[in-house]
């Protein structure tokens, strides 16, 4: 049987170790790719995602990654027979790649979504559209994020 004290020691040790790993991980790129793939497959499942039909507008050179204007437009007639059901946005380098999902339908008139995202670092931004026929289409843009030259006191 584990005493409360043992449990706490074990839990703290595990936490500390995992935290250290998170900061020093030499495999961060693979981990990020896995996180991105996981986030995308959660949305699309096993369905294939084809490039095209989607236009992702995001500045190629970003003044500050905290507030990046993003517009997604999808080529769709937006009729009851053929429309965009959802638009999803992902980033490659964020600790959590999922940005937003918008659910729309024929009543939107146009398949478009504008928002502002946080993008932690230079990398890819991916927009995926889910169409009413069940197909998935995407656009990917590589962006460069410039960071503020000087640090300030306050939050890290």
């Amino acid at each position: 049987m584990t005493t409360r004290r043992q449990f706490l020691a074990l839990a703290c040790g595990t936490l500390a170790a995992s935290e250290l790993r998170a900061q020093l991980d030499p495999n961060i790129q693979a981990k990020r790719k896995a996180a991105l793939d996981a986030a995308i497959s959660k949305v699309v499942g096993d369905a294939p995602v084809r490039a095209g039909r989607v236009k992702l507008d995001v500045p190629p050179l970003i003044d500050n990654g905290n507030t990046v204007p993003i517009t997604v437009t999808v080529d769709s007639p937006m009729t009851a027979a053929s429309y965009v059901k959802a638009i999803h946005i992902f980033t490659e380098k964020n600790p959590q790649p999922y940005v937003i999902t918008a659910h729309l339908g024929p009543r939107a008139g146009r398949a478009t979504l504008s928002t502002r995202a946080r993008i932690a670092d230079t990398g890819r931004v991916i927009a995926i559209a889910q169409l009413s026929d069940g197909s998935y289409w995407s656009d990917t843009v590589s962006v460069i994020v410039t960071l503020s030259a000087c640090l300030e006191d306050g939050l890290i």
Binding site: I100, A102, R107, A108, G109, T112, S114
Partner: protein
């Protein structure tokens, strides 16, 4: 105070596609940031946004930590009839904000 700002045209022609721009005052704290003394700031974000048009949902969004502070969500809808557009934001720690806008078909 749960401030929001919504831009909707006051009137439109029937069948016209109108643009709706919404902004909500919110820090969108990611849960990944730390204070200078190392304490993790707990996540505090808006998670859901819904727009209904005369009671029928026409747009919905799920937001995550990567949406910037004071979230902007802009989208379109077809002006079908005169009536009320209602907007609702919900999030962590019981956050709720609502807004109504009247649209007239001319």
């Amino acid at each position: 105070m749960a401030r929001v700002a919504v831009t909707v045209p006051a009137s439109a022609k029937r069948g016209e596609v109108i643009e709706i721009k919404t902004l909500a005052a919110h820090v969108m704290e990611t849960g990944f940031r730390r204070t200078q003394t190392g304490e993790l700031l707990p996540r505090d974000i808006i998670t859901d946004f819904v727009c209904t048009y005369n009671g029928v949902e026409v747009f919905r969004a799920e937001l995550h930590q990567a949406v910037a502070a004071n979230p902007l969500i802009a989208f379109t809808t077809v002006a079908t009839e005169s009536g009320t557009l209602e907007f609702k934001w919900t999030g962590d720690n019981g956050y709720v904000a609502t807004h109504k806008a009247e649209l007239k078909i001319v």
